[in-house]
């Protein structure tokens, strides 16, 4: 393929994804002042006692799991490929290709489940689908076309890997990868527009009549917060899944060389997962702030009402992820000979991570029965209650992130001895960054207790800034300070088997967490298909109990795990050759 052809293709895509074409075509002509449908309970199809909501819920969540994976992996595949070009290290290139190989097998399953989701929506919620098509019009067709383009670019990107591996051709290949990611992200943004519209409709009047353009419906108040949140979560999720794959391969392989490769792959995947995960609480914070800004009632329903207990489970899941990721990093210290000298800090980091986890776990505003209030001696626990409010939780989560980064930094430092003359000063600056940053996080947390609610929210901003300053400042100093550093040998593969199980915790907990978050996001609409515009009058328009939701989420996660086992098996099958055929050839 010539460069000019690629450029023409790229230009066509850019034209296609420009807002005017994708989001606003023929809007004026399509505007129809007819309100949203008002189906009665009897208008919802009942098919053999099957729970329509559970079918749609399962299909949507499964599609989301797979889509998140197949959209995220190309993102860090191209980043890894870029690393191979910059460093000249083929290991990065091989790993990027291996990432994509796993994606290939998952891609068609994503489309298959997506088709199942569409069918189930049409069968069980025809009025809602009819309305959504009326609002988003041609955008849905463009979505389908983009899906086709995504398929083409994905296949071309993967199958041209070896043909476009060296020299200038590598840049052509990366351009295809860039195109693939552009289309993939556009697909995600469009799908996000639909779900965020259902939460915070725009471009329609109070009766649901379409009064605005498709672009107006698309850029509804929660669209961008959701885009950012899902973008980061997808990266973390994709990293976690690939990390699980690498851990399994590490355990299964006997060849030390391959074991070392998969150990390195596991470390890199964990790094990617945590890289996506660190800013995720801030993105989640923005999303929740926008939810409050859009509808205070919706925000309180989430954080202080019927869904409040869910955030206790969320804390447990995130706590598990943090502990597992840190445990894996601490185990990694044994890969280097100098790692032992840093191991002494691990116990202190562990105390902070566990302490932060416990604070995050502390409930505060919950719906209590009269008996529970009586037993508790009030609406909040006298001693633990103060740990349940936002200043304490914000402090806890920021400290957990800072100390997780410290775990990373310890491993990184264990394999490099700085040789620059200002190394001592550099180290002192890094220590000062940590001390001042942590003091600021704790100080802002204490300030949060003595200030009105409105300023409590504001107090979290300097905490976030402190966390990011520590991380970014340390990275910048390390980059310069460790330039030309004496490299210590990293014994890839020198890891315990137990440490690999920490890598399994990540995908399992992430998947369950995504399922839980999907349940929360959807439940926020309470008994509305499209909040305030189109009521859900189906027999299943209520918020299921936490236990029921837990059953469904667990079942979907098990299904997803089964699919991923199949995908991993497929990707291994591609490498397997029949005994004797190699010799015969």
């Amino acid at each position: 393929m010539k460069l000019s052809h690629l450029l023409a293709l790229f230009a066509a895509i850019v034209l296609l994804v420009s807002p005017d074409l994708v989001f606003a075509a023929a809007d004026e002509a399509a505007a129809v002042l007819e309100g949203a449908p008002k189906p009665s309970r009897l208008d919802y199809p009942l098919i053999g006692g099957v729970s329509g909501r559970t079918v749609v819920w399962s299909a949507a969540q499964m599609h989301l799991f797979l889509a998140a994976f197949v959209l995220a992996v190309p993102l860090f595949a191209i980043a890894t490929e870029f690393m191979s070009v910059v460093t000249g290290d083929d290991r990065f290139d091989n790993m990027a290709r291996e990432f994509m190989k796993i994606t290939m097998a998952a891609y068609s399953l994503t489309a298959l489940v997506g088709g199942g989701l569409l069918l189930s929506l049409l069968v069980f919620y025809p009025h809602l689908m009819g309305y959504m098509v009326k609002v988003f019009r041609g955008q849905m067709l463009i979505y389908a076309m983009l899906f086709g383009l995504e398929s083409i670019t994905l296949y071309v990107y993967f199958y041209s890997w070896d043909a476009l591996r060296r020299g200038n051709r590598k840049w052509y290949h990366m351009s295809i990868g860039l195109l693939l990611n552009t289309v993939g992200l556009t697909l995600m943004f469009i799908a996000n527009a639909w779900v965020s519209f259902m939460m915070s409709p725009a471009g329609v009047d109070p009766t649901g009549a379409v009064t605005g353009t498709v672009w107006e419906a698309t850029r509804n108040p929660l669209w961008n917060p959701l885009n950012l949140h899902r973008f980061l979560a997808n990266i973390a999720y994709g990293g976690a899944i690939v990390g699980g794959y690498a851990a399994y391969m590490f355990l299964a392989e006997k060849d030390p060389e391959k074991k070392a490769h998969y150990d390195w792959m596991g470390y890199t995947s964990n790094f990617i997962a945590i890289l996506g995960f660190i800013p995720l609480p801030f993105a989640g914070y923005w999303l929740m702030a926008e939810i409050y800004a859009y509808s205070q009632q919706m925000g309180i329903t989430a954080m202080g009402g019927i869904l409040a207990w869910l955030f206790i489970i969320q804390a447990v899941l995130i706590g598990t992820i943090m502990l597992a990721a840190n445990y894996y990093l601490w185990s990694g210290l044994m890969r280097t000979d100098r790692g032992a000298q840093y191991a002494k800090y691990v116990k202190y980091i562990a105390v902070v991570i566990v302490g932060g986890f416990l604070v995050w776990l502390t409930p505060h505003t919950l719906i209590l029965t009269a008996n529970e209030i009586q037993n508790l001696g009030g609406t909040h626990h006298k001693i633990l209650g103060p740990l349940g409010i936002m200043p304490a939780k914000n402090t806890a989560v920021n400290l957990m992130l800072v100390f997780t980064f410290m775990s990373f930094q310890l491993f990184y430092r264990s394999s490099r001895i700085p040789t620059v003359s200002w190394a001592k000063s550099g180290n002192m600056i890094v220590v000062a960054l940590y001390v001042v940053g942590i003091a600021n996080i704790v100080g802002a947390g204490i300030y949060g207790y003595i200030t009105p609610t409105v300023y409590k929210v504001g107090a979290s901003v300097p905490q976030v800034v402190s966390t990011l300053t520590i991380i970014i400042g340390s990275v910048i100093i390390d980059v310069f300070m460790l330039r030309g550093a004496k490299a210590e040998k990293v014994h890839w593969g020198r890891m315990t088997e137990r440490s690999q199980y920490a890598l399994f915790v990540l995908p399992v907990a992430f998947t369950w967490l995504m399922g839980l978050m999907g349940y929360i996001r959807s439940s926020l609409r309470t008994n509305w298909h499209v909040y305030t515009v189109m009521k859900d009058n189906s027999p299943e328009n209520y918020i299921p109990t936490l236990g029921d939701a837990g059953n469904v989420i667990t079942a979907i996660t098990l299904g997803f795990m089964a699919i991923m086992v199949f995908v991993f098996w497929l990707s291994r099958l591609g490498q397997t050759k029949q005994k004797g055929t190699e010799d015969a050839a």
């Binding site: 299964a252 206790i312 008996n371 399994f504 209520y542 918020i543 109990t545 936490l546 795990m561």
Partner: protein, 379 residues
Amino acid sequence: MTFLRVIGFSVLLLLGYMGFAHMLPQVVPDTSEPVEVSTEGLDMDGFIALGENIFKGKGTCTLCHNGMGRAPDTLEMDMAATYPARLADPRYKGVAAGKEGPKAIEEYIHESMVSPSAYVVAGFGKKGTNDTESPMPTVNMPPIELNDVEMNAVTAFLQDLAGLEPTVPLPGADDAPVAEKPAVGGGEPAPLLTSGEAIVDEYGCASCHDLGGSGADLGPSLYGIGKRMTRAEVIESIIDPNAVIAEGYDADFMPADFGESLRGRELLVLTDYLMSLPDAPPAADDSEDEPLATTALEAIDKFGCAGCHDLDGSEADIGPKLNGIGKRMTANEVKTAIIDPNATIADGYEADMMPDDFADQMDDSELSLIVDYLMNLPE
């Protein structure tokens, strides 16, 4: 083997998460369909009670108007002093600006519901709007959708709360019915009760009042109440039983939380039922006697034991708790305590509280069923 270990580990982890979800309190949703209730004939006290129910229920007002600082804590503030101050506030330019009196306050309250940004209490505005925009939803729009009657009821409640005589009109025959539907905020709502008998049964009224032939006399007989009291007085005596105490009865005896536990529609249905009761219990007719209970639970239900005793979670405390009684008393003692309750009085309880005619009312088989059941009740 590695594969099985990995799968086993992952599945165990998943089951752990699922188990944790089950360990937490389950907020059971109210899946009942919304019903509509006519408010025709409701007097002002009933209307105020309805307003309180809407304020705490369908209106979801207490979601923000509480002590958490998201909105003024209307239920706790001194609104009698607050309303005039707001009307006189130079920042307020709404329909009641500069006016005085209850009617002006009614206009102010109504405006704050349908146009919340007309006046934003300092410190409670949307972030970045300098208190010019309120985060409160317009209550007659989705998702709350109160109708005019419901908003008037809330206004009446808030005026009453401030010690003012409500100025809103009472609902008439042509007014929209009041919708009762599951509150968005959750909780553990019981199924909506739609008949007077069911409500009386659920809340155990006949355990203390003579009703349905119970003959109980801990509270005044409810027969003929429609001739002795107005509808408003009946409503008041249900939601605020200590407001007026009937002669010969004590204060603080009847639970004071029916205003919270009864839903708006239930309060109205119960009141209608009580007002329609005849002057005296129907004449005893052997042919219409309640059928003989054939199980212990039927017998306990028939004689209303759980109305006074904490029995299997009823939490009543007029009489001693019955769970674990088999460890404290013999079967004969239990039997005696039923048919001659004043023979021995448990510590902390008074004589003459329990009906002493169960010996006449109960068949021997029913008495045996109850005694056997109680003796085997766990602690």
